[in-house]
């Protein structure tokens, strides 16, 4: 019985640039994706993440820099000659071929004999649990099934790198969670190198070993999901991954990498993360803000502007001297009404110093 294996290889970008005429889509980007990892490119639309993915696939040619897959320089190699396959947002199943023919398609061009093609295709469909539907046309499958065919079609080639371009965006919300777990399981059990593009931060946090946040053609931050969420490097990342309140503050002193920060009446001791004294910025997640009675020690005084009940939690808008803050509390029974005076507390692990 044929089994689908992995030929996972790393991907390296060495100062890669992509220009369309005068417009620069990707600027001198350097990155390293280790073999066997799932790395997500995350960012708002137009940030260059899809362009980056297509450059790995060879569907776009870099205008400058070098791209390596494993140790091979593939910068000038067209898509056909790269050992990379891709799952498209639209799945791109060939509508005039059956499921079997779709999965066999790539194998036919890879020099396998007829028997090998059939057994590999079967193994691929087994892997995604669709072996029974091989004779159907793509138009006779549901969206989730089409998606799995697309994955099987890419997997049977045992590519060095597997690319996903927003694979879940055409599925409904429930199915989305299910399919993303399937993708993650496959990736981990086969040890595949996967590059995954999405603009959905929750999806990115859920599936990735590492996330690369991109903004305007450049890497904004690169790290494990937890690092990105808990310690965003700058306001853009803080705001893009989860929501964040960005506040102006002053670093009074720094000692042993611990900064003493004042925020109006509030004094905080935070990791300095390399920053010196002077004005700085602070990012705080809404769920990391505490709501106290006004006057409580070391809190920022404010007035509740809005209270919204959304079932699992309350969403609060609080007007303070530092601007409006967005807070979330799980205590849905708290007696909070618009107009109430409150004090906002900052727990030790909540706020993070960031780059403007």
């Amino acid at each position: 019985m044929t089994r689908i294996r992995s030929n996972a290889a790393s991907v390296t970008f060495d100062r890669v640039t992509k220009k369309y005429g005068a417009f620069t889509a990707v600027k001198e980007m350097s990155l390293q994706i280790e073999a066997g990892k799932l790395v997500t490119l995350l960012g708002p639309s137009g940030c260059g993440k899809t362009t980056t993915l297509r450059m790995i696939a060879g569907l776009e040619m870099a205008s400058g820099g070098r791209i390596l897959i494993g140790d091979t320089d593939v910068t000038r190699l067209p898509a056909t000659d790269r050992d990379v396959s891709m799952v498209f947002q639209s799945y791109a199943l060939f509508p005039h071929m059956t499921v079997d023919e779709n999965v066999e398609y790539g194998l036919r061009f890879s020099g396998f004999d007829k028997k090998e093609v059939l057994s590999r295709a079967r193994a691929g469909l087994d892997l995604v649990g669709l072996a029974a539907l091989g004779k159907r046309l793509p138009s006779e499958l549901s969206g989730g099934q089409q998606q799995r065919v697309a994955v099987a079609r890419a997997l049977v080639l045992e590519p060095q790198v597997l690319l996903f371009d927003e694979p879940l965006s055409n599925l409904d919300a429930k199915l989305r969670r299910h399919v993303r777990e399937e993708i993650r399981d496959l990736q981990q059990s086969l040890g595949l190198t996967v590059v995954y593009v999405t603009h959905d931060q929750e999806e990115a946090l859920a599936v990735s070993d590492r996330i690369i946040v991109m903004s305007e053609g450049e890497v904004a931050q690169d790290g494990a999901p937890r690092d990105l969420y808990d310690a965003p490097a700058n306001a853009f990342v803080a705001d893009f991954i989860g929501e964040a309140n960005i506040l102006d503050c002053d670093v009074v002193s720094v000692a042993k990498d611990v900064a003493t920060v004042t925020l109006g009446p509030v004094n905080l001791k935070l990791p300095a993360r390399g920053r010196g004294e002077g004005p700085a910025k602070l990012a705080v997640r809404p769920n990391r803000l505490e709501i106290h009675a006004q006057g409580t020690a070391n809190t920022l005084p404010g007035t509740l502007a809005k209270v919204t009940y959304v079932g699992s939690h309350l969403e609060l808008m609080v007007d303070t001297e530092r601007g409006a803050l967005f807070a979330v509390t799980g205590d849905v029974d708290a007696e909070l009404a618009p107009g109430a005076a409150v004090g906002i507390g900052f727990p030790p692990r909540g706020p993070v110093l960031i780059n403007g």
Binding site: A57, L59, M61, P78, F88
Partner: protein
């Protein structure tokens, strides 16, 4: 990688094909100068100027074994290819200009063909292999992702367009400068260009006739405006009034595709001419004297309106349907009533479609040759003037060229003005997403007006076609209305003799020639058209806009101009084709190419690009993707392109009339010749047969296309509404004028 190596291995083989191909074709062919390949000519010490090409062709062998990433590989191939092509062109034109004797020259170059050929198959293959060496070199340097197939295709399309569209036009321009004695003369050119015959304004000030150029321009503008209005009326009836018999109206759009253009003119004569049915009825009932009013502007206008309105309809129907209903619904929810919505939203959104329809009507009218010939009377237009300059007693090529330049100036001017006018604005009302909603109906007043005009015109059209059909059975129209089959017998009699079926009818020879040529030209037309469409839709490359403009240009060039320029350019080496069937095929290919391109572009934009991208990432080369993914999905478009190019080739007249020869006579030119001899009966009978044949062809195609198997989801995005692209004219489905 495998494909790359295969392409590489083929390389030096190209280099040898001159020798191989000839040997393979001819076996132990003689060493005679007229049939020997260039290699043997050289070995015998003849035609030594061909030798450098042989040497150049051997050079790629030196690259054997090198990988294509080798930095030498690309530039070397580019140098070899470019040098080879340059040398080929140089010796081709150079020897002609040095004034060698013509027959000696043909003896020099004619290699395989005993007809009077300039460059033969050998030269063609050599040119082809140089071209592909060149494009391989460019691909190896990394252009378009190093894709040999795509670069090669671009090179091929550019080369054929350059040779068969631009070169003839340029040669025609050059010949306009030559006087009767063969000297260059600017003053004669200018005096011809600005002659009173062309530009006189006498008729405005009371004189008898205006300049030919003015006649053409006035007629074309009138036809353009009126066909657009009528087309719009029909489109509105179909889409905005809840009209139930839309299928009948849509059937009207088939008419211009299957009708040779001058047939309408014939019918007009049968109805309104001196001995026409209507004229005689009026004469006998009301005592109105028969007059020749129909010969001239009025008759021409009616005939061309009848002939070209369906084309405008075809364009506008897509446009009217393309206006997103949600726009109109939004307008209505913003308190605009139906009139205001129509006037402020619907009509402005249709602007590019209206411009396209006008352009089509304008160009078709300018290019129309058959109707003015039949109906023109003293109202001369450019296209007939060109014909008489070449065919008439004067035989003045330069005069024809000057007239063609004026004609070309008008049509290209309109083409350019349209692109400029629509230039930067986007009229696409909807993106790819499907759009629900219903088009609002027209306000009542407009609705009845529109019904009245459309009803009258439909009736008129039906009368015209009935006249054609009936006329084919009438002994002598206007004199003897008794029914007879004699016209059909004369044209299409079939008998038996000792060899089997004997095609006795006078029309059979031209009928078979037409069928044969139309069939032969259909395949390359569709192939080049679809290949070009693929490059335009799917590939990005430098100069793509110029590329698109170049390929669509032949649409804006009237058939008469193509005809004249082909006569001028291909009468002499290096490419000598006049009098052959090949020149007819070639002219059809490049006249009808825009139809194939547009059909391909339209259906290819409906196939999601990620399909071929996923094929590429699955390891298929771009050629394999094209063959296994795109072509099967395009099957309906391919069939349509084949049938339309076939049908258009059957009905074309304007370019053909210059290019036919005794041996290769075409139906249309045969019919026009009958008309000139006043043998209306045969002409009409023949036309009726042509219309019937083409109806059958189209019907069969509809049946075949109608039953395709592919599931709806995924490719059938035709439901999504997008406006007609503003970048170029819609396909000219009508007969070639």
């Amino acid at each position: 990688m495998l494909v790359g190596w295969a392409g590489f291995a083929v390389l030096p083989w190209y280099g040898l094909d001159r020798g191989l191909f000839s040997a393979w074709m001819l076996g132990g062919y003689p060493l005679k100068a007229s049939t020997a390949p260039a290699l043997f000519l050289n070995l015998q010490g003849l035609k030594l100027w061909l030798a450098p090409m042989g040497v150049l062709l051997l050079l790629p062998l030196a690259l054997w074994g090198r990988r294509k990433s080798d930095p030498l590989f690309g530039p070397a191939l580019i140098a070899i290819g470019a040098a080879g092509l340059a040398w080929l062109a140089l010796q081709g034109f150079g020897i002609g200009l040095r004034g060698f004797q013509w027959d000696w020259l043909t003896a020099l170059f004619g290699e395989l063909d005993d007809r009077q050929f300039g460059m033969g198959w050998g030269a063609l293959l050599v040119a082809g292999s140089f071209l592909f060496l060149l494009t391989l070199g460019i691909a190896a340097r990394g252009a378009i992702g190093g894709d040999e197939f795509v670069v090669g295709s671009i090179g091929f399309v550019i080369a054929v367009v350059a040779v068969f569209i631009f070169m003839p036009i340029l040669q025609m321009l050059a010949s306009a400068l030559i006087d009767q004695d063969g000297n260059y003369s600017l003053s004669i050119f200018l005096s011809k260009l600005f002659s009173a015959r062309l530009w006189s304004l006498d008729c405005v000030t009371g004189g008898s006739r205006c300049g030919v150029a003015w006649n053409s321009l006035v007629l074309a503008v009138l036809v353009g405006v009126l066909t657009t209005l009528l087309g719009l009326v029909f489109a509105l009836v179909l889409t905005r009034t809840g009209f139930r018999y839309g299928r009948v109206l849509r059937a009207l759009t088939v008419l211009p595709i299957i009708t040779p253009p001058f047939v309408i003119g014939l019918a007009i004569i049968l109805l309104f001419g001196l001995s026409g049915a209507v004229t005689q009825t009026l004469d006998s009932v009301f005592g109105l004297p028969a007059s020749r009013w129909v010969y001239g502007l009025p008759g021409l206008l009616i005939a061309q309106l009848l002939a070209f309105t369906p084309i405008a309809f075809l364009v506008l129907i897509g446009v009217v349907e393309g206006v997103s209903p949600s726009m109109e619904e939004a307008s209505q929810t913003l308190r605009a009533d139906r009139w205001q919505t129509f006037w402020n939203v619907t009509l402005p959104l249709m602007r590019p479609g209206l411009a396209n329809a006008f352009l089509l009507g304008f160009i078709e009218s300018m290019a129309d040759f058959g109707n003015p010939l039949v109906l023109g009377g003293n109202f001369d237009v450019l296209s007939t003037e060109i014909f008489f300059a070449i065919v008439g007693a004067q035989y003045d090529q330069a005069q024809a060229a000057v007239l063609a330049i004026v004609l070309l100036f008008f049509t290209l001017g309109a083409f350019w003005a349209q692109r400029f006018w629509l230039g930067r604005k986007s009229y696409t009302t909807v993106s790819g997403k499907g759009d629900s909603g219903v088009h609002p109906h027209l306000p009542d007043g407009l609705k009845f007006g529109v019904y009245a005009v459309a009803g009258f015109w439909t009736l008129f059209t039906l009368v015209v076609y009935a006249t054609i059909f009936y006329g084919s059975f009438v002994t002598l129209w206007g004199v003897d209305f008794s029914l007879t089959l004699s016209h059909y017998v004369k044209a299409f009699a079939v008998g038996w003799n000792e060899f089997g079926i004997h095609w006795r009818g006078a029309a059979w020879s031209s009928f078979f020639t037409t069928l044969q040529i139309a069939l032969v030209s259909a395949l390359p037309t569709a192939a080049i058209g679809l290949l070009t469409a693929y490059l335009l839709v799917r590939q990005r490359f430098a100069g793509k806009n110029a590329f698109e403009f170049g390929t669509m240009l032949s649409f804006a060039i009237p058939g008469t101009v193509i005809g004249v320029s082909y006569v001028i350019a291909f009468n002499v080496p290096p490419i000598e084709l006049t009098g052959t069937g090949i020149i007819l095929v070639v002219s059809f290919i490049f006249r009808n190419m825009p139809v194939g391109v547009r059909a391909g572009v339209a259906s290819m934009s409906q196939i999601d690009k990620s399909l071929d991208e996923s094929s590429l990432t699955l390891g298929a080369s771009s050629w394999q993707s094209f063959r296994t993914v795109i072509l099967p999905l395009l099957r309906p478009a391919i069939l349509a392109a084949l049938v339309y190019s076939f049908v258009r080739a059957m009905t074309a007249i304007s370019a053909i009339i210059f290019l036919v020869s005794a041996r290769y006579d075409m139906s249309t030119s045969y019919i026009v010749a009958r008309v000139e001899n006043n043998e209306y009966g045969i002409a009409i009978a023949y036309s009726t047969v042509l219309i019937a044949v083409m109806l059958a062809v189209i019907g069969i195609m509809q049946l075949v296309v109608g039953t395709r198997r592919i599931g709806r989801r995924g490719i059938d995005l035709s439901q999504s509404r997008t406006n007609v692209s503003a970048s170029g004219p819609a396909p000219a489905m009508g007969a070639g004028g």
